[in-house]
Amino acid sequence: MSQQNRLGTGGRIDRSRPLRFTFNGVDYQGFAGDTLASALLANGVDVVNRSFKYSRPRGIVAAGAEEPNAIVQLGASEAAQVPNVRATQQALYGGLVAASTNGWPNVDRDLMGVIGSVGGKFMPPGFYYKTFMAPASLWPKYEKYIRKAAGLGRVPKEADPDIYDHINRHCDVLVIGAGPAGLAAALAAARSGARVILCDEQEEMGGSLLDSRELVDGRPASAWAAAVLAELATLPEVLVLPRTTANGYHDHNFVTLHERRTEHLADLAPSLNGRRQVRARMHRVRAGEVILATGTHERPLVFSNNDVPGNLVAGAVSTYIRRYAVVPGRRLVLSTANDHAYRAALDWHDAGREVVAIVDAREHPEGDLVNEARARNIRIIPGSAVIEAQGKKRVSAVQVARIDIGGFKVAGRVETLACDTIATSGGYSPVVHLAAHTGARPEWRDDILGFVPGKVPGMTPVGGVHGKGALIEALADGAAAGTAAAQRTGFTAPAVELPKVAKVREGKAAALYQVPHVKPAMRAPKQFVDPQNDVTAAGIELATREGFESIEHVKRYTGMGFGTDQGKLGNINGMAIAARCLKQTIPQTGTTVFRPNYTPVTFGAIAGRNCREFFDPRRFTALHAWHVEHGAKFEEVGQWMRPWYFPRGNESMHEAVQRECRAVRESVGILDASTLGKIEIQGKDAREFLNRLYTNAWTKLDVGKCRYGLMCKDDGMVMDDGVTACIAENHFHMTTTTGGAAAVLDWMELWHQTEWPELEVYFNSVTDHWAAMAINGPNARKLLAELTDDIDLSGENFKFMDWRAGTVAGVPARVYRISFTGELSFEINVQANHALHVWQALFDKGEKYGLTPYGTETMHVLRAEKGFIIVGQETDGSMTPEDLGMQWCVGYKKPFSWIGRRALTRPDTKREDRKQLVGLKPLDPQLVLDEGAQIVLEKEIRIPMPMVGHVTSSYFSPTLGHAFALAVVKGGSQRMGQTVYLPMADGRVHAAEVVSPVFYDAEGARQHV
């Protein structure tokens, strides 16, 4: 395959390493060191895509991040697909497969283009707001067709096989951009011994040094870059990150760097030494100082048909020639408003191809590069600009005319010049994006015709982004900033000796953005501002005409800057056009706010390794392996994996739960209660603290006793509950709900630290320290008796709500006689390392009692039979203790106004018709009501109808022999015996009787045996 545009010599490609690749199904060859874009240009591929709205053929415009057109679908296999890859930033590798994202059936013969050229005139900005409204019923159909046209690339149909990760970095000086200013800054800072990170988005570091015509210390500029990089590599505290884009600049000098580690090698990350490699890594950098050396983006000129393939920005032409040895055409016309762009014509000429003319908007171009052009006898047409390109899939000619910039009109005869390539330059926009991320508004500078970064604490812009684009200035600016930044972070930086660079004399640039046409902008052939979104100068003019006068309105109405290049190429031109239409200056028109990302970042890289098992921690008890081994199904409660039920054989959940329930009520069952939050409280004011924290009183709880407590927030709503034991006079052991443990401890610390620091008390979590095993049922005592000989288990000496220390199965234990089932129950707590031993010992001895492990579902049934609440199920942040019928747990007479007390006397909390906890007994005893069913008072359903409450918990009780539920009902305590109705989605209406929430053993005889 020929590379007809490749030069025989020069460039930074490796001709000894040819690489084959496929684009739109055609095989091509490029070289190592190419980008996909340079390889396509080398092969003379003109049309790389079709535009979004008008489906116009589009070619490569730029050589970097600002490229709007060359957006391709990458990937040889389904799982490897990557949508919207910018060909100018994709390194070529052997076997690369890419295709255009738009165009049907293909980019060269595109049928949509016909529609675009005919229908385009009916699609001005905002056209969809003005139509598709009648009839209203057809909008979904219209939308379907609108959606058909949407999007660029496509999402892979398979899950991503690659992995990603994050790394946290801290440095003294972060230098973003490894062009001349960035390298000088990094070198100066690094020589001080400071921790320096230097990153650059390109495959190779050096920035403009890699395609510069200038000499540094008498040698090619790239040699100086190589020398600096070599020195940096020897410094231990320096990290150099190529292929790494600073994509987001966040508060307090936190910068995210997106490092693409394998995308230059293959579409799927190859393994290394048999181990997986991450495809991309996000460096989360906290920097003492940031040096912004992001350079500039060249602005193209806006003229008619400036989107025909063969139109490039001037700097890109130089880059392709000098860096990749690719001349993207035969005959060049350069249209410029500044000196610097003359490089394109000089490089083109020196590559042996024809420069038809340099069209310079300035009346009297003067400068070193202008003189060089003159010396080569290149025709320079002053005071003029290209006003229109001709050609369909490739430029065939240009129309050039003398223009009056101030008067915005063509001021002379139109001349047609045959050519196949147009290079343009309207000037250089500092890459201020990152600085703008922090909220700093860019500031306009008339002298450089561009916005420079606003002030950001700890950030120094250098080089092009600082308005110092000339090589000699950039080097000095960077070195000075590097030294200063190192000093500010506490290092002494020896001065860097600047290399010798000749000063290039340049004439003043002209402020040209949109080139006037002989026709008014609304009637002239399309003049593209943002080619990816097909935003034209006429579109911007129309927007301002319709009253969209803020630049944000203009952007949003036209879509300008919303492409994947985020307006890097077009935004300033668009603003200039809006300013012209509104008869304002550019700074009056304002700038738009740039947001992260600077260039798009893979979701996977941002997610890192935090998916699947690492998405959120799973917490396990010391007995988890046993539960797994015994077939438990698990329910997750606040990160904890709790056994839900233990099915035997082919048992259904219902069957297993019924069996487990019966075992507890009839003999003995065991629950792993280790997940309950446990907080150790020590200090002489522990009791007082509990008095203030809980709704009930703690002053008189004796050592060896336990008490249930309810906690409210200060709005009077229940937040948590649990049992707290008095271990010694000033020593308590608190339990909380499984999900609430951390929040309760933080809550206690909050009140102690901010409100009551005078109380002498300390808290600490001991949740993980203790494993807790609750044996429940009439045989619980007998079972425990077989494993302990130092605890008197008799009913008279170890009463309900007592706790005792002793030995269980040879292991020191605290045994709490507390019950969440209403049965005789002992909760055995041992140091978690010994839990499995005790658990197994219980099963060894428990076989004869049919000791049955049970999970949370059975626990829920059993506690609901007793009317015990679950915080978070019976409560939802809007229930007071009184709503729950738990007045018995409220210490109205406690002297200190405990947390939540005052709120209970607010008008709304005093209402008698608040929702209150009740029991429901379905009239059909077999019917288990739906949890979440709404409750109404009338059998006849009419919608809308008033609801009085809902079912919070609902089960079938094998003990009661019927279904039952807990519910909250407005004025529920006054409705005992009343029938309420529960309308279902399928039209059935269930009926239930309002009853007490305590269904079983209301007098509590069983737990007191």
Binding site: D165, I727, Y762, N764, V830, N833
Partner: protein, 232 residues
Amino acid sequence: MSDYAQMELNPRGAVKSESPLAMTRARVAQAASPQEARVLICEKAFLGHLVLRGNADDEAFRAGVERALGLALPLEMGPLSLDEARGISIQWMSPDEWLLIVPAGQEFAAEAALRGQLTGHYAVMNVSGGQTLLELSGPCVRELLMKCTPYDVHPRHFPVGKGVTSVFAKSSAVIRRVGEARWELVIRRSFADYLYSWILDAAEEFGVFVASGEAARSAARDAARELATEAR
């Protein structure tokens, strides 16, 4: 009756104990041999972990702690009080909180010693069953840690002998640097499986060896030293 109840929680007789990683170790395979691994992981199970609370401004409290433990109470975030020979360390956790780690089985004695020396407002809480200690060694440990914690682990910021508490993956951990390329993590029991799995996954690219038992542990340590020397 005393104001506080202290309890020996270790059994007298032979009882099989399980560290927080017992289940996880069985689940996770060793990834690399000690020779090629650049990260070595070893659990130091069953140590005594105690939380000590008290007023650092109270001279009597400080003196009492020193008498009880033979180690000075660290008064600021960072430097550990460490006696490697005796296997005892005290780490500042908060202005009024310290983590005391003692050899396996000595937690009761340590608590008793403290209670014997301290008066006034203080607290000692045994948390030995609730956490475990992981030793990480090898030339790539620092880079591994950078993937796990936002805390700056650079030697200039994290010299040998320092200990901090910070975010670790999506949980938290106590991070201590006990040698040039030797680090310790103190992690909570219920999060141990998650953190351990996370560490192995994050360390995959370096090659990771899981050492178990005392012999393997010392072999691992030797290998780590060698590698650390090479890396320099």
